[in-house]
Symmetry: C2
Subunit: 384 residues, 2 copies
């Protein structure tokens, strides 16, 4: 299978690329490195030193017999992506190449605009390029579970069967996104649904929960040379990764508000398993298919509790601390998101519990000296 990974330098894009290469697929990756620039705007560095993408690709290609192709390019450059698709003619395009942080998008006007500009226009250029040069390709697009917000009804997978005044229709699930970043993903989904409807493209839109973890079987082959970008800061760090790092740093786990907010989450290995399941089970032409990509959900307090227990088993005394919520979000709410599609395709979820998280806490401990406690407290507030 010819597969193109957009955003191949990222936390998820990189291990996804390794996985598909290891499976024997023809893998090409693209990145524009803008995420690294964004990290530097805040002065944030990932916990664990990573090699440049060039070095990682070299290392992989020297030691494996299925080389990865690597291109530097930007989806905002429509000629680049159009020509690349003409050259490669990929069968699957995994699109991770978006600004991925809600706090980044809420930090000021310029970054809000950048987020929607980069994500929505980049995705539009991609749709036009697919339509022109590989209309049969399966677009696997990364969205987020946060697009739905916290509605008072069950969260279905992208579509909702609506009954109203005695009549019925199947409609896009009405979303209530919580940041300009989340909104950008909602806009993307709407644009893609239209492209499927009008141009007969096919897409799987993955509304993913919060990802955590460091290890994948491919990274484990040579951790030091292949490891992926792990963030624990307030802007780019996902919550479980940040809690684990705070625990190792003997810093209170910063629970925003009451901590009763519930969120879906997923291990990095399961992210890749889901991408694989979606890619190898494509939708039909013209179909806009949505999967909710998470394995379980918990409240922030419950997540903190698991990490505190796991830390205790490792001799670390951790505790949680409720701090003022920098976000505007519901803290007490109903939450029942569905994830039956990926389970029914065969996903066997990795459990998030005090045993499975130990390996990550041990890894973070190894890099404890790199932890910068100044990254922990939220400075970005939803009131700009």
């Amino acid at each position: 299978m010819k597969i193109l990974i957009l955003g191949g330098n990222g936390y998820l894009g990189w291990p996804t690329s390794l996985f598909f290469s290891k499976q024997g697929h023809e893998v090409s990756i693209v990145d524009n490195f803008v995420k690294k620039k964004m990290e530097l705007e805040f002065g944030f560095k990932p916990l664990i030193p990573t090699k440049t993408l060039h070095k990682r690709v070299d290392c992989w290609n020297k030691n494996q017999n299925n080389p990865i192709n690597f291109y530097v390019g930007d989806l905002l450059n429509h000629r680049f992506i159009k020509d690349l698709l003409a050259d490669i003619r990929p069968e699957v395009i995994v699109h991770y190449a978006e600004q991925p942080s809600a706090p980044y998008s809420m930090s000021n006007r310029e970054r809000a605009i950048f987020t929607q500009q980069n994500n929505v226009m980049g995705n539009l250029n991609l749709l036009f390029a697919i339509k022109k040069n590989c209309p049969d390709a399966h677009l696997v697009k990364l969205g987020t579970l946060g697009e739905y917000g916290t509605p008072n009804i069950d969260i279905e997978e992208g579509w909702l069967n609506v009954e109203h005044n005695g009549r019925k229709d199947r409609m896009l699930y009405p979303k209530k996104p919580g940041s300009f970043y989340h909104l950008s993903k909602v806009h993307d989904s709407a644009n893609i649904e239209f492209a499927c409807r009008i141009w007969d493209l096919k897409c799987t839109d993955l509304n993913q929960g919060v990802v955590y973890g460091n290890f994948t079987p491919e990274i484990d082959l040579d951790f030091e040379n292949l490891c992926t970008s792990f963030h624990y800061d307030e802007v780019f760090g996902t919550i479980i990764n940040r809690f684990c790092t705070q625990s190792v740093a003997n810093y209170p786990l910063t629970v925003y508000g009451t901590g009763n907010q519930k969120r879906g989450y997923i291990n990095i290995i399961d992210t890749i398993n889901c991408i694989n399941l979606a890619s190898t089970n494509p939708p039909k032409k013209g179909e806009f298919r949505v999967f909710n990509q998470f394995t379980d959900f918990k409240s922030l307090n419950e997540m903190a509790e698991v990490i505190i227990k796991s830390s205790k088993n490792l001799g670390i005394k951790a505790k949680a601390k409720k701090i003022q919520n920098p976000r505007k979000e519901m803290e007490e709410h109903y939450y029942n998101p569905k994830n039956t599609s990926l389970i029914s395709l065969g996903l066997k979820p990795i459990k998030f519990n005090e045993n499975t998280i130990e390996k990550d806490i041990k890894l973070i401990t190894k890099y404890k000296k790199n932890i910068d406690q100044e990254y922990f407290m939220p400075t970005v507030k939803w009131e700009i």
Copy 2:
């Protein structure tokens, strides 16, 4: 009342400005003239010669005792709009300043991107400027009834009470827009709803039907010097205006497809009445209020029939001709959009019938020599 009209040079923006000035309000208007450039890309001219905005404003200000202020500027220039709102501190902002054509947005990649870029980012800049400099201002935003598409259930006004698996929520109405232009309006609405929710702004989002007509009481004061931009071409001409012009030109009324597609419509005077009703009955802080702004709906065939009858009364033999539909849209569908909000605020709709449309057909007849029949047939197709 201090009122700012964005897009004040447009078909609707201009007569709206005159109306509010005549009512004694303090009116400022902004335009960037990009719409005129877009028309020139296709070589289209409006039917009736209009004076430059400068001349029209001069004429109005000389003959009326309540002058209009006029600024040249672009919402994509965030400093311009931020500073302008700081200077004026408007109480009402009527936002017409968007690329208004579905076919334009579907004509190629560049124009699709331009449409979403111009509309979505311009609107975002406006939201940030309001938040910073006049957070109590009432944003009156123009959207379109076409955002909803043609769902198989009743079209409510922006929000839907959903009951699902025994639980309830009030959610944004799930939309199914039919072009990149319509999508841009959906994205705008989502961004504005968020700004109301997070920043406590207040907005009325007007999902407007197809507008027709030329006359308003203020334009009638000096038609030649004050008339507004009337388009009848395939890209910028709205359907009733195009049908009327085709009739006068003895050209068959170009009905797309079966002509059973139903659309809401509204007279230009009622557009202004609706803007006035919304402006003088503002929502409360934090409220994202949606009104469907149309007075009736008919199928394309029924609209053509009215115009053919009216033409006959004027001695013009008109006929309709079904042509291949350049759009991808449902031609047979349920359609029941609601418009109770504006009616309950006091709107007394102008009827669209063979008598009321006569005045417009007569006016077009006066300018018959200007009609260019090459503008009529659709060249923009939804398959790009």
